[in-house]
Assembly symmetry: C2
Homo-oligomer: 451 residues x 2
């Protein structure tokens, strides 16, 4: 979906033609392309899905989900924010059969506070955890962020990781079922053994292809994909499954797959693990993935919210007034880039006559992501399209919804003490209904086989 | 020093000329070159030292060592088995000034038992530990060996590491001053943070150049040099220095240098750390190195003892008869490759008339490495050169010395229980006279600076 109107987001001088460019997506850089006039384009998610051979989430899959779980799909599934998957259907098979799986997601701590966009995958993952009643591991890649950001030290990113963990906890995760870890703190033992074993399966050529590395890339960056990949193996966390055999990497444990909710730019990591999981000494199944779009619509086309650009995001620590009035609020950026971000018309008369265009309206996009009531949203859409509702009214509704979302978050965030943080970050046996707790017999056999 | 005589070690067919080749030395492959007739050449250690810009250990250095420590230099220093160094003089400066340093050495556990050659650096390091009274860390690179040997799993090499550690302990190290660790077990926390920090300083191009990697090299191998390098930093082992601040990487700790006794083929690793140590957040001094030759002379020219070739080595578990009679004993290989391995003459008459050549005689090389008495050795040398002593007599003396060395080892080895192994391998505060135990004040300041 291209932006419209005479004010281009990336303006070019008259007569000067820029060659059009394609969108560029990898785990560290996300750029929508621009057309020959230099106008930023929206991401073409169908094209990404086709190019990377993922499956689009369709009605049949969502119907099956609802039938099996008894839960209406989350509005972010219903409205296509989580739009694509790999093997999510196989996770549903396991759920149906009562077989174990776990959830894994993560965050690269590049700053000390989460913005609204960061919380989306976590809020969604919390919902998945409630629906499936399965254990969840959350990886904070403080190692990665210091490797990839020249100016950040490992001390910086580790400090960010602990701060971010508090924000993540405030997304509502169940302590009993959730283990949050900083790579720099937690990785050792079986996790590290998995890292080395995986690293033996992957060549420089392969990571160069997958991540765009070159000969001047530092060796830490070259190695890091192995770390993020093996986080998808149940054997990397022997502690969470059982007190005994907490010290073992067993074949039984290796067979428990995970489901990873994540933004689509992280997909290259998990293609690598999906290609190689069966080659491990204790072969693992391919992890299943659910991909989200970026919160593009919340910012205007062609970028994603960035914590390092303070003007591009609503932070979760913002006051209601900051959410409403700050230039950081993309909704308010409508005022500046009217044609880029609003679906409204130039004048009230025009708007009443022609109606608004919800598809390109930032406020409407916010409403679609934060208003859970389908009927109410439909009424708003129809009202806007008919010209009955004005852009300002949509903005007001959207701001109120976000203020509510942020307020709820902040209430939970207040309760997150250092002690509670420590509890979430302590490697320990998690508790959930279907804990498969591999039988001691099996673990002894495995032990003998490994000796 | 070339082999002599009509039987070439690497025979070639008549009329077939092989191009001569240069010696090849890197941490995983050691090959002496061969001449244009296909004869294996001895390693040219002076050339290695010159090429890599190390300093040869000379009499002045050894005299200073003796003056400062009150100890006669070890026979392996006096007789040039440890022949080269980097900054050993600066370690002596520190010793003279009463400033702390530590010893670091290691082993790649590629098999479950040590051979004679493996024990040389450890016996030498034990002697250094006694002389200097400093802490020692011994790294078992079970991670490396599995990465570089296609057929070994990480479970295999970890098992070897624990077995090898028992043999290493039997070299006589002082428990109070020695910490032995398996990479796969120990690495985490500050060690791993150092690994990542170091890996950020080094590019693929740099390790490609230093270690001969290419684009098909697995990413674990590419990363591994960072692991071996940061083992030379005192901050990788906060536990050994003090109970408090055991959890800190401090600037003060980082300034404690190490001395690394090792075979010269490992030098590329430490050139890398010497080039980059000052670039760490807590800058470290360049580690000092003492290089040994390979035990070439103990096997014949052009190779080093190899645990993976059972016929090339005397194992430390061998019985006295095995030492004497086994085809594994290089001394006995004289019988097979007379001209390659013996300095004796074809007939008794010839030998009495011309005398033997100690420089190319394997038995004499053994004597020079295991007979501590300089006068006694001189007499043997003179007697052999004059033709008075026969090759068989030298063999007998050498075998007795080795039997004694192996017997002493085995007596100590019997005492190494699983419990004792565990004590050596437990991260803990070590005890030695000059423990600098950074003062709490400093550590708090560091803590504040890091926060």
């Amino acid at each position: 979906m291209a932006t419209t109107g005479s004010e281009a987001v990336l303006p070019i001088r008259e007569g000067e033609k820029k060659p059009s460019s394609e969108q560029q997506i990898d785990p560290w850089d996300v750029q929508a392309g621009h057309d020959e006039n230099g106008n930023a384009l929206a991401f073409d998610y169908a094209a990404i899905s086709q190019k990377w051979a993922t499956k689009l989430i369709d009605d049949a899959l969502l119907e099956r989900f609802e039938r099996l779980t008894g839960h209406k799909p989350h509005r972010w599934l219903r409205r296509g924010l989580f739009f694509s998957h790999r093997d999510f259907d196989r996770i549903l098979d396991r759920y149906e059969a009562g077989e174990p799986f776990f959830l894994y997601t993560g965050r690269g701590p590049s700053s000390d506070a989460l913005h609204l966009g960061h919380t989306i995958p976590f809020s969604f993952t919390k919902w998945l955890q409630d629906v499936f009643d399965v254990p969840l591991v959350i990886m904070l890649t403080d190692d990665e962020k210091a490797l990839f950001k020249e100016k950040l030290t490992f001390e910086d990113t580790h400090k960010f990781a602990l701060q971010n963990a508090k924000d993540i906890i405030a997304c509502g995760f169940d302590l009993k079922k959730t283990f949050i870890y900083s790579d720099l703190e937690y990785i050792s033992g079986h996790f590290l053994m998995n890292v080395w074993e995986f690293s033996k399966l992957v060549t420089f050529n392969q990571v160069r292809g997958a991540f765009g590395f070159n000969e001047s890339t530092n060796i830490g960056r070259i190695m890091f994909p192995a770390v993020q990949c093996v986080a998808a193996f149940a054997t990397s966390y022997p502690e969470i499954w059982a007190d005994e055999p907490a010290k073992e990497r067993t074949k039984a444990l290796a067979k428990i797959p995970c489901l990873i909710p994540m933004a689509i730019d992280q997909d290259p990591y998990f293609r690598l693990v999906r290609d190689n999981a069966h080659r491990m000494k204790n072969p693992s199944p391919k992890p299943a993935l659910i991909h989200s779009k970026f919160l593009t619509a919340l910012q205007g086309a062609g970028g994603k919210m960035s914590a390092s650009d303070p003007n591009s995001a609503i932070f979760m620590a913002d006051t209601p007034n900051q959410v409403k009035a700050s230039p950081r609020c993309p909704i308010h950026q409508n005022k500046i880039n009217k044609h880029a971000f609003s679906g409204g018309r130039e004048t009230l008369e025009e708007h009443r006559e022609l109606g608004g265009i919800p598809e390109i309206d930032v406020a409407f996009q916010y409403l679609s992501y934060f208003e859970d009531d389908d009927e109410k949203l439909k009424k708003i859409e129809d009202g806007y399209r008919s010209g009955e509702l004005l852009t300002g009214e949509l903005k007001k509704m959207a701001i109120e919804l976000i203020q509510g979302y942020v307020k709820d978050f902040q209430a939970r965030r207040k309760e997150v003490t250092d002690d509670l943080l420590k509890q979430y970050m302590t490697p320990r046996k998690l508790e959930w209904k279907g804990n498969p707790n591999p039988k001691p017999k099996e673990s002894k056999k495995e032990k003998a086989a490994q000796a």
